[in-house]
């Protein structure tokens, strides 16, 4: 199918026009590896959307990587099923020193509405005391990006869970 060059140019111009402004932060680029561990896929979809052109993830100093051994931060979505726990542990072990674990969404934090049962462990809270959280069901890409920038700056995100006194629990 032949496309009019003007059509393409206008589409490019629109995408440029809509391009969001980067969240300014200092420091080096942080490499992110995302891992789904059993959820409705809502948070995983928001992370995919965050990696698209509607949000300035890369311009804000983050880079998505395909392998955990290349990652600084591990972003986990889902309530952590028993079946996926091995993969989560392997990904964590494969990461280089200085790594951080971040639970994206309520399920990844404490299992959300699913809690723990014969097949789910109930989120990162049941597995580790060393993690950060970005709550929501699902959190919006904007909220995730905002919280990631805050965590990168070393502060506590304003979007973290109020129920948890240490939503940003700590970083390893």
């Amino acid at each position: 199918m032949e496309l009019a060059p003007l059509t393409m140019v206008l589409a490019f111009l629109d995408v440029q026009k809509w391009r969001p402004h980067a969240k300014q932060r200092s420091g080096r680029s942080i490499r992110l590896f995302t891992l789904e561990t059993g959820s409705c896929e809502g948070c995983a979809r928001e992370l995919i959307t965050l990696g698209g052109s509607a949000y300035p993830l890369e311009a804000s100093g983050f880079e998505r990587v395909q392998h955990p051994q290349d990652a600084d931060w591990l972003l986990v979505t889902g309530a952590v099923t028993r079946s996926s726990a091995g993969g989560l542990a392997s990904a964590w072990e494969a990461m280089p020193p200085g790594r951080s674990l971040i639970a994206i969404g309520d399920c990844a934090y404490n299992g959300g509405l699913w809690g723990s049962n014969y097949t789910t462990l109930g989120g990162i809270a049941a597995l580790s005391r060393v993690y950060s959280t970005i709550p929501g069901c699902p959190p919006s890409p904007e909220a995730i990006l905002h919280a990631l920038v805050e965590l990168a700056e070393g502060g506590s995100s304003s979007t973290v869970s109020q129920e948890s006194s240490a939503s940003r629990r700590s970083r390893q």
Partner: protein, 478 residues
């Protein structure tokens, strides 16, 4: 293709529900193999139940008692029953005689109980898991947002002996729902799958209303119909984005990204959640008209963006043609719904059965090629169709359609035509609590044909194939 079923000697136990003896069950399966389409198969410790689609798109539930943990398998006659039989075996421990496949579907050895939904589940000392296959494509290696793994053997650069794995995504949904009141269950059902934040709770609420002999008021009915179309547009934009991204169509992916986020922002601006989570409620007493300005704003925002996507989408044609073909016969045999079915020549759309649906707005272009290109085009056409539907609903919002009042039976069967096809809920109530519930997500029959579609393809083609099919395993893994 769908004819009147032969059902002899069954006892009617619900509006669409019959119970038959073991011999009647076998006779029914043998006699109706080519007459009706199987939509879903479920079993628990007491009953095996099959949901069929008969002439006039009428549903039919047929059940038979489980005898000493066994029943005659449905899959030799209706292959689409395979996943349901495997799941019932994992969850309740009931065995299907002569099943086409009796390998585990959900229990991969990681649970601390076997048959966890049975009256007497067995504890497991140490889960060992299944042996690793020759090759495995892990969920993190695909563009699918959920937990879908693909096991295969690689021979001369192409995949063979394919097995689709969704066990890692099983969250024990049914075990959580049983015993809850509908009010307690709704927030969980609203989070079963992100591909159905509206369609799943809507199918549930419709089943519930049938069980309780209630009908929604016309305003609430129309509000739900609108939300279903908004969800459809958002889901299609997500899939179009994923498809474009998988074949290097960055510009189209960007246009879809921006359109979907503008839609989410609009939902939020008008008091809904961004992805419509929790937008379906059990009862809404007051007349709802706040959604009308939302729809007006949506029409103004989405229409030009869709037009722009349409104008540039042709650049992907060559990359998508002849990819992941699902022939018409396969689509009918497995009752594949939604975009996948309609792009393969199975023109079934349960919105035609919805009370109050403006059917004149339905019936956009339908395709038969069955490839990724056809599904891509079908999604665009269906977005335009959704806009027409909403436009017509707004023009006559809340008009009474005069449906009949049904008696309370405490058993309900509800369907909603979601973005990925028909979602079904079958439930039974006792003293206001859910005693039985079964769910049919449209990805389930798709999983049954996925191996056939991927067979003989190189692994590097999997991404575009999966994204074009819109695979979202959460609704099936439950």
């Amino acid at each position: 293709m769908v004819e009147a079923p032969i059902l002899e000697g069954g006892e009617r136990v619900g509006l669409f529900h019959y119970r038959v003896s073991a011999s009647g069950w076998l006779h029914f399966l043998q006699q109706n193999e080519r007459r009706v389409a199987l939509l879903a198969f479920w079993a628990d410790e007491a009953w095996a139940t099959a949901l069929f689609l008969c002439a006039g798109e009428q549903p039919l539930l047929v059940s038979t008692a489980i005898e000493q943990g066994h029943y005659q398998a449905v899959s030799p006659y209706f292959p689409a029953a395979q996943w349901g039989e495997r799941m019932a075996r994992d969850l309740w421990g009931v065995e299907a005689w002569s099943a086409r496949d009796d390998s585990p579907a959900l229990d991969d050895g990681s649970w601390f109980l076997t048959t966890p939904l049975a009256t007497h589940p067995l504890p497991v000392a140490d889960g060992g898991g299944q042996p690793l296959p020759a090759c495995r494509m892990e969920p993190s290696q695909t563009q699918v947002p959920g937990l879908l793994a693909i096991d295969y053997a690689l021979s001369e650069g192409v995949m063979q002996q394919i097995e689709v794995q969704i066990a890692a995504g099983h969250r024990g949904v049914l075990s959580r729902l049983i015993g809850l009141s509908p009010q307690e269950a709704l927030p969980l059902i609203s989070r079963i799958t992100a591909s159905g934040f509206v369609s799943h709770p809507l199918a549930f609420v419709r089943a519930l209303e049938q069980a309780e002999g209630r009908r929604p008021n016309p305003q609430e009915r129309d509000r739900r119909l609108i939300l279903l179309e908004v969800e459809r547009i958002g889901a299609h934009l997500f899939d179009l984005r994923q498809i474009a991204h998988s074949v290097g169509g960055g510009l189209i992916a960007s246009l879809c990204d921006h359109a979907r986020e503008a839609l989410a922002a609009l939902c939020e601006e008008y008091g809904l959640s961004r992805r419509l989570t929790d937008s379906i409620v059990l009862e809404r007493a007051s007349e709802e008209t706040g959604i009308l300005p939302f729809v007006q704003a949506l029409l103004l925002m989405v229409r030009p963006r869709l037009m722009q996507i349409k104008q540039v989408m042709g650049v992907l044609d060559n990359r998508l043609k002849n990819s992941a073909i699902i022939p018409t016969g396969l689509a009918w045999e497995y009752a594949l719904g939604g975009v996948v079915g309609r792009a393969s020549g199975r023109y079934v759309d349960f919105r035609l059965m919805d009370e109050g649906m403006r059917v004149q707005a339905l019936g956009g272009a339908r395709r038969h090629e069955g490839d990724a290109w056809a599904r891509y085009r079908q999604r665009i056409v269906e977005c335009e169709e959704s806009l027409r539907i909403m436009e017509q609903i707004v023009a006559s919002f809340g008009q009474d359609s005069g449906g009949e009042v049904i008696p309370r039976t405490d058993e309900g069967l509800g369907v909603a035509e979601g973005a990925y096809g028909d979602v079904w809920y079958h439930l039974q109530l006792e003293a206001g609590r859910i005693t039985k519930i079964q769910i049919r997500d449209p990805v389930l029959p798709l999983l049954a044909v996925l191996g056939t579609v991927l067979e003989g393809q190189p692994p590097e083609e999997v991404e575009v194939m999966l994204t074009s099919l819109g695979i979202s395993p959460a609704g099936a893994a439950l």
